[in-house]
């Protein structure tokens, strides 16, 4: 159980970091999503792994820590919203510039840059 959860977190994180380094918006967003899945499982595990126990104090001997579940829920909602925002912005940037690199283009061509400036000012 511990090995399974730990390796799941590790593999998700490794895959996420690899994808983030691709530096094009689609893989990077997928990579960030994988990282948030990894951190959700990690948060969940931070309250210790207990099987078949209620997340509330009652007469039973064992119980699951309810707080990490609340934290995970918050984290899921926030990361979901943030991912939606970044998808919209990345789409806008891609459609506008016809280029999906995350980095800004090298400013080697002054003429091209000035035409971009005029476009921005307009």
């Amino acid at each position: 159980m511990e090995l399974l959860v730990a390796s799941a977190i590790g593999i998700l994180t490794a895959a996420g970091i690899y994808l983030v380094q691709r530096l094009r918006t689609f893989p990077v967003i997928i990579g960030v999503s994988l990282l948030t899945y990894a951190v959700n499982v990690f948060l969940f595990a931070s309250g210790r792994l207990t099987i078949a126990a209620p997340p509330i104090l009652n007469d039973a001997e064992t119980y699951t820590d309810p707080l990490p579940q609340a934290l995970v829920l918050t984290a899921i909602v926030i990361s979901f919203g943030m991912t939606a925002v970044v998808v919209m912005m990345a789409l806008g940037a891609y459609l506008g510039a016809d280029d999906d690199h995350v980095n800004e283009p090298a400013e080697s061509d002054p003429a091209k840059r000035r035409s971009q400036d005029r476009e921005d000012a307009a």
Binding site: S46, L71, I78, E104
Partner: protein, 513 residues
Amino acid sequence: MMHWIALPIILPALVAPFIVLAARYHIAIQRVLSTAGVLALIAIAAGLAWQAADGTVTLYRLGDWPAPFGIVLVADRLATMMILLTAVLGLFVLLYAIGSKWDERGRHFHALFQFQMMGLMGAFLTGDLFNLFVFFEVLLIASYGLMIHSGGNRRLRAGVQYVLYNLLGSTLFLFALGAIYAETGTLNMADLAGRVAMIDEGGSVGIRVASVLLLLVFAIKAAVVPLHFWLPSSYANAPGPVAALFAVMTKVGGYAIIRVYTLIFPPDLEITSGLHSVWLLPAAMVTLAIGMIGVLAARKLDRLVAYSVIGSMGMVMIAIALFTQAGIAAALYYIVHSTLAGAALFLIADLARSGRENLDLRAAPMVAGAPLTAGMFFAAAIAMVGLPPLSGFTGKLMILDASINAPLVVWIWATVLIASLISLVGFARAGSTLFWKARAVPPPEGAEPASPPSALSYTAVGGLLALLAALTVLAGPVHRYTTAIAAQLFAPAPYVSTVLETPGKLSIPAEEH
């Protein structure tokens, strides 16, 4: 129970949806509501600061649940000073946005602005680490909207980069929080202070990893080298007033480092010793150097200002990394100074844009209003570089004075003084190219003269410069107050006992213990 502490968060949280729902198509009503909201915020923040000035720590329990089970808001000297600074900065930025009509160039500027204020206020007031994460996200998501306000390809692209970088930072923050919870079983800052101190040397691996992760997260926010890459392009591409408001966002990182590393991981804690002196201090010195070299190397005015913000953050972090009372006091003075100076410079960069095609540091014909803009640039640049007579000079003196007993004093003095010289050259070159040489370039034939920026814009920038002047004149009292803040931070017992021992609902009455 004092409900006033929750108001700085609740007020913008109510004003923002009201603006969206009721005044959606009426920019004039939005402006009035937004300005009134910020004015009320200043009044509340000033009241809270007044109340905290004598050293009382005020507590607000959300839902009346006692800490560490419920979430608490805590108003001490440090938190109230930061919210007052944020509210005052917010007013001038808002006036500029109205005066320059930036708020008309896209939708929902005022609503996003209010949400941004809400996130900032919450981040300063909260007494719970997970709640700090939530308020970070509130201020970030509002800043994403503000960052791409009025659109444009280049801005959208810089915005995507900014959002992705911050998403990675948030993920890191969650990893740190998970590790802290797994090790201690709490996320309340005051409770953590006691629990972390109880961890013995042998089982401290997890908490040490967590403390480093947390430092990394706050260093991303504070743009400490090597985690500063997001700042120049996102601040330079953001609209002028938004970039000016962002000047306080790097300080949120500085604030979080001060709070967490005096309360939870204090400098005399055995298990995390070396974190500040071995890692943070050299990183801060490199930040200062890189920032000021960037000022010299920048080819556009907005990038130059962005790099000067990185450099000033390096200066703040040097003072913080000393982790002495004098160091924190100097850092807090410099935080106030560099927030105001950075914001003024971003607004002036936006003023200089009127009538120009871009902000490249090349001579272009004189534009309307240039003499006044040039004068303001001169004053703000003096403040940022740290020449007498403005507050950058007094702030730098305090930092040099605080570091006199540090082991690395030679390095600190050398870095600070050489970096100031470099930034002086950079700002002088930029100013003379932009404003001085403009007289030598004749305006092109038949070009329509651009109208000068409005009086309200100049008033907003002038207000920030006046605050800088006031900060210089009142350097003595302000420094005494920041010293009192530092004293409170280094004696956290009243903070901890106020948070943990105030009973809430369902608390067992004291006599039954």
